[in-house]
Symmetry: C2
Subunit: 348 residues, 2 copies
């Protein structure tokens, strides 16, 4: 797995008011048009009462300081990652539009089904709201105690251990034996497993019987299989919505391919989101997250917290020139609704 450099987003030195205005104007227009932005355009657009020449000389400074870049001489400027970072850091919190607000509300009023279904549909919703690819991560049951287990006789030498966790997730594990277990034996093993595992979490050690009969062997195997699961990452669920938006957001075919192939690796997506949250960021721009193939992307993340516990996260992936204001607002709104949905209000 790609190793990310833990570069903490450097606190961006502050710019004087005029430079800030100019930078923001450049970012805004570039996001809008995808074109390099020239000094005259900034001079006329922004409410600065200065000439393009002045803007120009400020731009030289901004470029020297790393906020702007020039694709080539005699072209306008485009923002660098650092420029976008400044822009985002100084963005006053946006609000979602009325229609979108309504859409979100309608969605959460009508959505039903199991957690997984809700998360998957939420991902689609978020993507439709923003026109960016969305990522919804549901926290695993790593820390959740076991509510119930059941061993089912599937075939002669094939049993299925079904485990229900307190967070409502259900997991199955195959247990293969090299002897034909009778129904009675399976039932007995099931009873013992239930007694043994109930209330424990995946990490905890449990006392397995050391006898050598079929039942004991079944119990041992079942416990071993259950605990073989990686308690950290496994069980986390990723739902990706609107991957077709990738094709709209980037123009280079190669970029599209790279981004899609990252999205295919769900584990990687989970750790990307996790990393960004760990850094305390809500937006990772360009190379800030350290995943090189995503260097032309920005990732917005909003945690979902239920009862003070992290319950997952929602994210958006777009080009660095994405509409940060709208997208962040949408992500925040959806994560809040999601938290509420899984929190007090019980109509899962």
């Amino acid at each position: 797995m790609a190793r990310r450099s833990l570069k903490k987003a450097a606190p961006v030195a502050d710019l004087d008011a005029r430079k800030a205005t100019i930078l923001q104007a450049v970012v805004r227009e570039h996001i809008d048009t995808a074109q390099p932005v020239g000094s005259s355009s900034v001079a006329s657009t922004s409410d600065l009462a200065v000439s393009s020449a002045t803007v120009r000389s400020e731009m030289v400074t901004l470029e020297r300081e790393g906020y702007l870049a020039q694709p080539h001489t005699s072209a306008g400027r485009i923002p660098t990652d650092k420029g976008y970072r400044y822009f985002v850091d100084h963005l006053q919190a946006g609000v979602v539009g009325a229609t979108q607000q309504q859409q979100i509300k309608d969605f959460f009023e009508n959505v039903r089904g199991e957690v997984e279904d809700v998360l998957a549909q939420t991902s689609t919703l978020l993507s439709q709201l923003t026109s960016y690819t969305s990522v919804v991560v549901g926290a695993g049951h790593a820390m959740s105690p076991i509510l119930s287990t059941q061993l089912v006789n599937l075939e002669a030498r094939h049993q299925l251990l079904v485990t229900v966790f307190a967070d409502g997730s259900v997991v199955k594990h195959s247990v293969m034996t090299n002897f034909d277990a009778s129904h009675v034996e399976v039932a007995e093993a099931s009873r013992q497993l239930h007694a043994l595992l109930i209330g424990t979490t995946l990490g905890a050690r449990v006392q397995v019987p050391s006898r050598n009969d079929h039942v004991a062997s079944l119990v041992r195997d079942a416990v071993a299989t259950l605990h073989a699961q990686q308690p950290t990452i496994d069980g986390e669920q990723v739902f990706i919505g609107g991957s077709s938006k990738v094709a709209e957001a980037f123009d280079g075919v190669e970029t599209v391919r790279k981004v899609l192939s990252i999205l295919e690796q769900e584990l990687l997506v989970v750790s990307l989101v996790q990393d960004i949250l760990d850094q305390g960021l809500s937006v990772a721009i360009g190379s800030e997250h350290g995943y090189e193939p995503l260097s032309s992307c920005a990732v917005i993340v909003a945690p979902v917290t239920v009862d003070g516990q992290p319950a997952g996260a929602v994210g958006l992936l777009g080009p660095t020139r994405m509409k940060y204001g709208e997208a962040m607002a949408a992500a925040r709104a959806v994560s809040a609704h999601l938290a509420r949905h899984f929190g007090g209000d019980e109509r899962a």
Copy 2:
């Protein structure tokens, strides 16, 4: 959902040997180069001992009959869907290369985990083998009898019905109540449900208690929730591998977007695959499957049959100019291995 025209692949009239050779040469070279193919190239490539002029006049016929098309005067010919169809129908079964054979073997020797995991990984494998996007569909448990059920008390008014089917699939359903059920009541309801449902299939009618107490109410709600599931389509699982290959296979960004957005709709993919199988095809070229947005795609499908029962299908989606021989061979090989894996050889 898009409605497909059930156009049965028309049996293609046979061509005389020379026309066939020319057509095949054109298809082969076009698949290779993605360029229109000229008469002289065919004349020299193929082992026909005729001049380009002769090839040319044959091509005129082939074009009139709908096998070839000309992007514009003074360009070579490219195959039409009908041309590809002829090509595929007269393709002698290909074999997978030695390294790929080995790769498949290694994979199935080492793969482990639950059915879903195996299918998901198989999808990735198939995509890597062929460089096309792969689709693996696991048949639902529609017809599978229930082996076991269990009702678990999740929260005060929230129970979880966990159902294990004979095919090894496990499904959960939330049951909400408007009263606080005691643990004893839930346990009793669980016992009754188990007795009631065991051995039945989802379609079957079961006798629910008509009393008005908590337990009876729980049982009724649980059965209703379980049966509310669409027995036909629901429960079918789709695993899509290598969606990033879409970006490689097609050059128009718009096409990439359209194809990706189809792939996002899993239900649609299932019915696409199902439709093709229903038509008895193993390949659907261009508009043969009737899904307009996929008109520049070809879809290869191979059923997976375990113990005479359809257990799913594996598919490949690529451009119409895909490498049919290799891709079909790979799909066949993987589907056969998959069937064997889930069949006699029991190490799921």
